[in-house]
Subunit: 324 residues, 2 copies
């Protein structure tokens, strides 16, 4: 949306996307053998975006740790690819940040799909961020009060602004785009997209509480708040590490990107640690160059999310309720 | 703009503005005697907003430390008064924050003015934030990528958004609304409002450098950066204290408010401290209730301003250039 040039991320000191590709291939192990159509399936835990089907492109996983995201139509797909290529090789991105908070990028690949079996479509090959979680509880949270890059054309701004005002984005600096919570018995709570769009402040708070409740029904007990949100390696400590980077980084502005939260409902323990808590950034079709300015829009939303989550940790029972 | 009710700031646990007034009068010393029209004059150092004249209302000072701000037309004036009344008495505002970063509110007063000598107009009576500075160098920086409260009506949003996109607000999270720099010899640099509106990122950086330069011409030397921006009690340390409060406070959202910077160009020393550096919040006609959510919009812009200023401090000469 913000540039028609594939050289968008041709930063000073960073080679162009075309060169990045050869750079990438020179320094990384060769990509794994191409999966066949029968290896691939829509991810079970997908909570936002289009789901792959007979008539729609959507993300696919191969069950061995890779995630295939179809390049989006128009400039968006190329834009997201250019971001991944520039970001993967950018000398000013701390390796710890790249490894901890971003999916690893393995290039692009043409894949036949159920929707278009004879017309292979380019896919970004990324790490499957939820690989290894047996019962993934997932939340997709779109960050920022503003979801449109400043240089966007007027009709796009108007369209985004209407969504940002109609959801909690403008008010809270973020909105919940998707959520899936697995209860200990295996029951899944997964509200409809429309229900999420209509959430107000109290509703967002309720969803973020149910995300860490052992029985994710209406009466959220927040029994997992300490294990998932709090403590060492929990969501809060990861978000605070990300915040420290956003207070300094002036490379990229992450318009309309999401923070993906994940943990393993089977492994998490109400009494302490475990559960493979993950905090990752995803969806980079609208990233803009930072040009020496911090991403105050993402940072503000991130701080707001941190406040919501730290309030839940403070209010949660210090010792979880006894099992019945 | 966001409420037609004078009870806007009728927070839980806080009495209504009407009650606040009596609370205020009970606990504060009685206001000083009313100034006469001849005591009052437009502040010499005013850098933003309308200047009081024969045909316009504008702020006035009395030379003894008070600043009189005419209540704005429509709801804005009443809204700003309601904010000051609620804020002055709010038990959850730390006294240190109120005293360090906000003008003290002394109630309202009907004053005859040059513009309307026979029709006294209500004025907010506030501390003159720049009292005591012999040669005030001043900057007015409007904070936030979004300057309209979320509940504003459509035409107001469109009007603000056009300004926010046309200036640096959306891109940087703030814009410079006014600046006045006094050189050691007394010469004043005070760019026109239109010039400030047209600033791009590089221009904002240049203005923030010239603000701390001993010769505020084009060749900014940033000789005062360490004294004014850096060090103990400098702008940066004050902004960081403010930031810590904004990471926690969920009482108010300060849409379209400004940070006012001030120092005494006669007293500041390029070699160290001094200069009475001031960092204050002003302009509260569009403050909204926080309702338990942090002001991510103000916080993001504040963090962006902090990054700009800390970059200038890092780049400035550690030892100032020798005097010629």
């Amino acid at each position: 949306m913000i540039s028609r040039s594939p050289d968008l991320f041709n930063f000073r000191g960073v080679v162009s996307p075309r060169h990045l590709r050869s750079f990438h291939h020179r320094h990384h192990p060769p990509p794994p053998p191409a999966p066949t159509m029968s290896d691939l399936r829509p991810p079970e835990h997908q909570v936002a975006g289009h789901r792959a089907s007979a008539d729609k492109l959507g993300p696919l996983v191969d069950g061995s740790g890779l995630f295939y995201k179809p390049l989006q139509a128009g400039d968006r797909g190329e834009h997201e690819r250019a971001f991944y290529e520039a970001f993967s090789a950018h000398a000013a991105v701390p390796p710890r940040i790249r490894d901890a908070f971003f999916p690893r990028f393995h290039g692009t690949r043409l894949l036949p799909t159920q929707a278009r079996p004879r017309d292979p479509h380019p896919h970004l090959v990324l790490d499957d961020l939820l690989a290894g979680l047996r019962a993934p509880s997932v939340a997709d949270i779109k960050i920022g009060a503003i979801t449109w890059p400043p240089s966007s054309p007027e009709p796009y701004v108007a369209k985004c602004l209407a969504k940002d005002r109609g959801t909690t984005s403008v008010l809270l600096g973020f909105r919940v785009s998707g959520v899936r919570v697995v209860a200990p018995g295996g029951a899944v709570w997964r509200p409809e997209r429309q229900e999420l769009k209509e959430l107000d402040t109290a509703g967002v708070r309720r969803v973020l509480r149910r995300y860490v409740s052992s029985a994710p029904g209406e009466g959220a007990d927040c029994a997992l708040a300490a294990a998932v949100y709090g403590g060492e390696g929990g969501v809060l400590s990861q978000l605070r590490e990300l915040k420290a980077w956003f207070e300094e980084q002036t490379l990229f502005h992450f318009y309309s990107a999401s923070i993906l939260l994940g943990y393993d409902a089977n492994a998490v323990s109400a009494t302490g640690v475990g559960g493979g808590v993950r905090v990752k950034l995803v969806d980079f079709a609208h990233v803009a160059e930072g040009d020496g300015v911090i991403d105050h829009n993402f940072l503000g939303g991130l701080c707001s999310l941190i406040k919501f989550i730290s309030d839940i940790v403070s209010e949660a029972p210090e010792t979880p309720p006894l099992a019945p």
